[in-house]
């Protein structure tokens, strides 16, 4: 007669210490976090360097453009540009100048409503000047 094999094998279990497992887990997490942080720092470093490079580039281009603009609008350059386009500009003569002044405040408030006077200014024309 065959003996029935005992299907319930009795496996020998070696107990793993929980403390050690916990420590290993913490160490693994620590390593993972370090690697992640290091990777993140490298990314940030690259980003910072790139932004600094862009800032420097923009500053450089701004300074160059500003210098170019200053040269273009210097009085000598403007004069040459006007001459090139045959634009002759001259100062106005005396009779072309109209000087405006503020009206005096004493007569302004309400009492002279009948006068059609522009209240913000009164035109004074220069005469006797040629």
């Amino acid at each position: 007669m065959f003996r029935r094999r005992n299907r319930r094998k009795k496996t020998k279990v070696v107990p793993f210490p929980a403390t050690l497992a916990g420590i290993l887990f913490i160490v693994l997490m620590w390593c993972g976090a370090s690697i992640w942080i290091d990777d993140r720092c490298s990314d940030l470093k690259r980003e910072i360097r790139e932004l600094e490079r862009q800032k420097k580039e923009l500053e450089r281009r701004y300074n160059a453009a500003e210098c170019r603009w200053m040269r273009l609008k210097s009085p000598g350059e403007l004069e040459q540009t006007l001459a090139r386009h045959r634009v002759n500009m001259s100062w106005p003569s005396g009779d072309q100048i109209v000087r405006l002044s503020e009206p005096s405040s004493s007569g302004a408030a309400g009492g002279e409503a009948d006068e059609e006077v522009v209240t913000f200014a009164r035109i004074e024309r220069l005469i006797g000047y040629e």
């Binding site: 720092c41 470093k45 450089r60 281009r61 300074n63 160059a64 500003e66 210098c67 170019r68 200053m70 040269r71 210097s74 009085p75 000598g76 004069e79 100062w91 106005p92 005396g94 000087r99 006068e115 059609e116 006077v117 522009v118 009164r122 035109i123 004074e124 024309r125 220069l126 005469i127 006797g128 000047y129 040629e130």
Partner: protein, 564 residues
């Protein structure tokens, strides 16, 4: 088995060597390795800008980044493409291929500069070619957008980045800023490793210098001087525009001039700022001092009449002549007609000591203290060194030497009711943060004459530009101009030249409420040499433009109201 044993022995040997290097007495090797992983460098500071009175709107000097086109001849030769590289670069750099080839054909060399200081567009075009062995090097230069304008005031920066002349030199300590420092570690790729132990000191950018000069007024003055130089074939010309009430210099121009962007090509003659660096005998423009002093001391009045000896006067064994012969003139007429004899006699009423005191109080023989270097003090001997007729010659502007800045200061004092103001060119110095580090304010440095004397002198000097006066060509429609002409013979060994003159005109306007003073000096004009013919029209041209630009209202006008 044998193979395994060899491997184990090799690994063991390497491990032993590693342990020996790390732990053994090899400090020098470890130190060399540590040094190779560190970087220590200074970080250059950006140089500040120089601006005119409007600040950032008008920049006169600024630092810009440009590129040097460089090559590694070794790499180019190794590729065997030197000729192709030269042909490709030549049109972009604006040179011929034959000029590039010698720089490329240098075996053993890893660095050659093909073209310096190219702009962004050129650099980009070179970059796009993608030539092996050709690379760009970033560098910084000083750029002067206005070229030759204001060259003597702004100055330039030398190749070491230090101010070499003008404001660049005088204010170098503000403009240069402070370099920073970086001490850090790098990895194998020479990338910086950020660490708490790093030493980083940020550079402090240079401060900006704001001048009192207006670049538009400067341009008007330079244009007038260029015209005078052409019309009268002069050797040199210089002019100053100054605010009477404050002492601010609105323009300071000197011809010949030079382009600041090519300062290395200029000669000493062009680099000299004649407004402060050249002394000359002022001639008749100097008479205002003797007349003012005598009026202030009340030894004469405008109505005092002097015998002008019909144009030739013998005094202490020497003859003094007038340009035109006059019999009798009062002081007012003598100023108008610029009589040498009258002025000499006026000076005698003062005496040498008193006259010398007035000369000193007007700043003659002393530097004004303006911010630029190279200012001359002029020549004025003390009275004990004057010869027997010396006072008569000094009174008419001979035997004494001044700078244009000193002389305009005299006329500004007369215009400013007797108050002498310190002239200055720099309005303020501003840090990058906006804080004002230094600011100049108007300062009274003396009062040689009283208000009453100044008022009388203004009247007398306004007569010079009236009909019949020597300075009639300086008159300006609608404005009363006060001033004086000068036509001084240049001294030569043994006496004075009969062909070389210094023509000048100095004046201020409007006469009653003066705002600006202008001096124009022309060196050896030909063929005409008198101040009235050569310098006075230039004064009028400059003054005519400035009064419109600054909107100085004309003297004589009547206002009428018009209703709308």
């Amino acid at each position: 088995m044998a193979g395994g044993g060899v491997l184990v022995m090799a690994m063991g040997g390497l491990a032993a060597r590693l342990a020996c290097l790390q732990l053994g007495p090899h400090e020098d090797i470890r130190a060399t390795i540590a040094r190779s992983r560190e970087i220590r460098c200074t970080i250059p500071a950006a140089r500040g800008s120089i601006m005119d009175c409007r600040g950032k709107e008008n920049i006169l000097a600024a630092s810009v980044t440009v590129w040097n086109v460089c090559a590694s001849p070794d790499d180019v030769i190794a590729e065997g493409k030197a000729a192709r590289v030269a042909d490709a670069l030549a049109p972009i750099l604006g040179v011929r291929p034959e000029e590039i080839m010698p720089k490329l054909l240098r075996p053993g060399s890893r660095y050659a500069v093909l073209k310096k200081h190219v702009q962004d567009e050129t650099a980009e075009a070179v970059r796009k070619l993608g030539l092996k062995g050709v690379f760009l090097e970033e560098t910084s230069i000083r750029s002067y957008p206005n070229g030759a304008s204001l060259c003597h005031v702004v100055g330039f920066v030398n190749y070491e980045g230090q101010g070499g002349a003008g404001v660049e030199l005088a204010f170098d300590k503000y403009l240069k800023g402070m370099p920073g420092y970086l001490g850090a570690s790098v990895d194998a790729k020479r990338d910086r490793l950020y660490s708490e132990d790093d030493t980083f000191i940020a550079p402090v950018p240079g401060a900006d210098v704001v001048l009192t000069v207006d670049q538009n007024i400067q341009h008007m003055v330079e244009r007038a001087l260029d015209q005078v130089m052409d019309e009268h074939n002069a050797k040199g010309a210089w002019a100053i525009v100054q605010r009477v009430r404050t002492g601010e210099i609105l323009a300071m121009a000197s011809r010949p001039a030079f382009d600041l962007n090519r300062f290395f090509m200029a000669d000493m003659n062009a680099m000299t700022n004649r407004c402060i660096g050249i002394v000359y005998e002022p001639g008749s423009t100097f008479k205002a001092i003797a007349i003012s002093a005598a009026l202030n001391e009340r030894t004469v009045t405008p109505e005092t009449v002097f015998d002008c000896e019909n144009g030739a006067w013998m005094y202490n064994g020497r003859v003094l002549r007038d340009y035109h012969a006059y019999s009798h003139l009062n002081v007012a007429e003598g100023v108008k007609k610029s009589s040498n004899i009258l002025t000499a006699k006026v000076s005698l009423t003062l005496g040498a000591e008193r006259f010398y005191r007035y000369l000193k109080s007007f700043g003659i023989g002393q530097r004004t203290g303006i911010e630029l270097s190279g200012e001359e003090s002029g020549i004025l001997a003390p009275p004990e060194k004057w010869c027997s007729y010396g006072i008569t010659r000094i009174a008419i502007g001979q035997g004494v030497a001044v700078t244009a800045l000193q002389l305009i200061g005299v006329y500004c004092a007369i215009a400013n009711d007797g108050f002498m103001m310190r002239p200055y060119l720099v309005k303020k110095v501003v840090a990058p943060s906006g804080a004002v580090i230094m600011e100049n304010h108007p300062r009274v440095v003396g009062r040689p004459i009283s208000f009453q004397t100044a008022s009388v002198m203004k009247r007398l000097l306004s007569g010079v530009t009236e009909e019949g006066g020597t300075g009639a060509k300086a008159s300006l429609d609608g404005y009363e101009v006060a001033g004086k002409t000068g036509s001084a013979q240049k001294p030569v060994p043994g006496g004075y030249s009969t062909t070389a003159y210094v023509a000048s005109f100095v004046g201020f306007l409007p006469c009653d409420e003066p705002e600006i003073a202008i001096i124009v000096v022309i060196d050896e004009p030909q063929p005409y040499h008198t101040g009235g013919v050569v310098a006075a029209p230039a004064f009028k041209r400059i003054a005519g433009d400035i009064v419109k630009y600054l909107d100085i209202p004309p003297d004589s006008c009547r206002l009428a109201s018009a209703g709308l």
